[in-house]
Amino acid sequence: MRCLLFIFAFVLAVGVFRVEPRSTTGNRVLVLLDKEDDKALYSKFFNSLEEREYQLTYKLPTDSTVDLFSYGERAYDHVINFAPKTKNYKDKVNPLSLLNFVNKGGNILLGASSELSETMRDFAREFDIDFDDIDTSVIDHFNYDISDDGKHTLINAKGITNNEAILTKNVIEGPPVLFRGIAHKVGTIPLLTKVLWAGETAYSYETKADQQVDQEPLVVGNKVMLVSALQARNNARVTFVGSTELFSDRFFDSPIQRTNSAESFPKSGNEDFAKDLTKWTFQEKGVLKVTSRHHHKENETEELELYRIKDNIIYTIEISEYANDHWQAFNGTDVQFEAIMLDPYIRKTLTPLPTSPEQQARKYKAHIQLPDVYGVFTFKVNYKRSGYSYIEDSSVVAIRPFRHNEYPRYISAAYPYYTGAASMIVGFLLFSAIWFFNKESSKIVKKKTS
């Protein structure tokens, strides 16, 4: 009896103190490094991740024991790739496997450097990101930090995104981020978001001594991308950072002062920037979820599969956002409802209803009059915004035409004809009444009978 109680208490304790992963995808992270010693370079970064309850596994890409998948499922939830120099990736972690990993929902944080190998460059091309050639760096002769070693490659990144789904306001307005690495060019696909880019005086070129810039650089000015983020259609996130040194301890602690500028900060913005970036990439931030949707006719509550044309219905959907380690009500105001039959017939913006702080999801509601066309429609909420996960929620309903007794009883355009026919009736009755009681016709009657 006491043994049973003990077991029960143990199970309860384990249940209560179970560690809930902060990320909505999971907390198993695979870290790929060029060599074992690199782990010490990023000790602060990795420690902060472990404090956020991630389980980090450090491996080299040339290690044959590392495998992203196990029995067909992902063995890790996230991958941090700080191994840009390595050329021979083993098959289990080569770009094709990493691509499969993303397709299965895994998130990747890719760090590059000037020594980026062709393997990872090919991987980035899959996502429409074009890194510059090997041994090139981002150079800015007007924006480099005072602790630069003369090549003007240690720059204070100037352009930062305003998207608060990816970075918090403190980071956007805080100290600049130190960067030393390779530039990339971003493609035009709508899945990409620019996160950090260089100023107008930057360019990407080789840094050999006495190098003259005589060829056209790949990117120039504020098209020089330093950090880009991609959210795939299955909501997996891949972030491309052109500088692994951005995450290094040295940059985390370094003070910032731009040459020829009086502005100086005691600590760079790198640590907070890296924290926000990993929060977004590892699905702790900007994650949306639909918790329920309903549609019903006004004044009813039943959700029908068959509606009638020109019916008035109420459509509600509840959307929840994951922020600060719990699901809370989403704050977007531009969620739209569409009624689609090959093309949208109706598109209406849903109004968010006010919520109390304990509610986990915000309800959006709209009053809609169904279109005048019958057929099989899809009620869809297709919400795709940069930085937030994509929501595509659809329910299929049929819309039937009027029954024969549901048509309008009197057509307003036909009133002249109605009055004409009615006047015929009235005229005929009056005429026959007058005819029968007329003295002359009764005279004819009398004549006949006599």
Binding site: A413, A414, P416, G420, M424, E440
Partner: protein, 92 residues
């Protein structure tokens, strides 16, 4: 020219009101009323379009039918034609 037409119309009107019996004049006013109603509906349809086509047909054909029946009544009750309708009783 118009003088002649107006005097002809005047003559026609006096001859009509003197010579036709009152019952026939009654039917005639009824017929005129039906005619106006039918013409009005037809002109309305031409101007506005045939949208509630069924309603137009209903209204117009009811006028036409009433006109035809009333005209038949006039023919049968005209004393000048009494010879042709001996087989029909006054109550028809």
């Amino acid at each position: 020219m118009s003088d002649k037409v107006s005097s002809a119309i005047q003559k026609l009107w006096t001859s009509y009101s003197k010579n036709t019996p009152q019952s026939l004049q009654l039917i005639d006013t009824y017929l005129v009323f039906i005619l106006f109603s039918g013409v009005f509906q037809f002109v309305h349809c031409v101007l506005v379009g045939t949208f509630p086509y069924n309603a137009f047909l209903a209204g117009f054909i009811s006028t036409v039918g009433s006109f035809v029946l009333a005209a038949n009544l006039r023919i049968q009750t005209n004393p000048d034609n009494a010879g042709e309708f001996k087989s029909i009783s006054p109550e028809r």
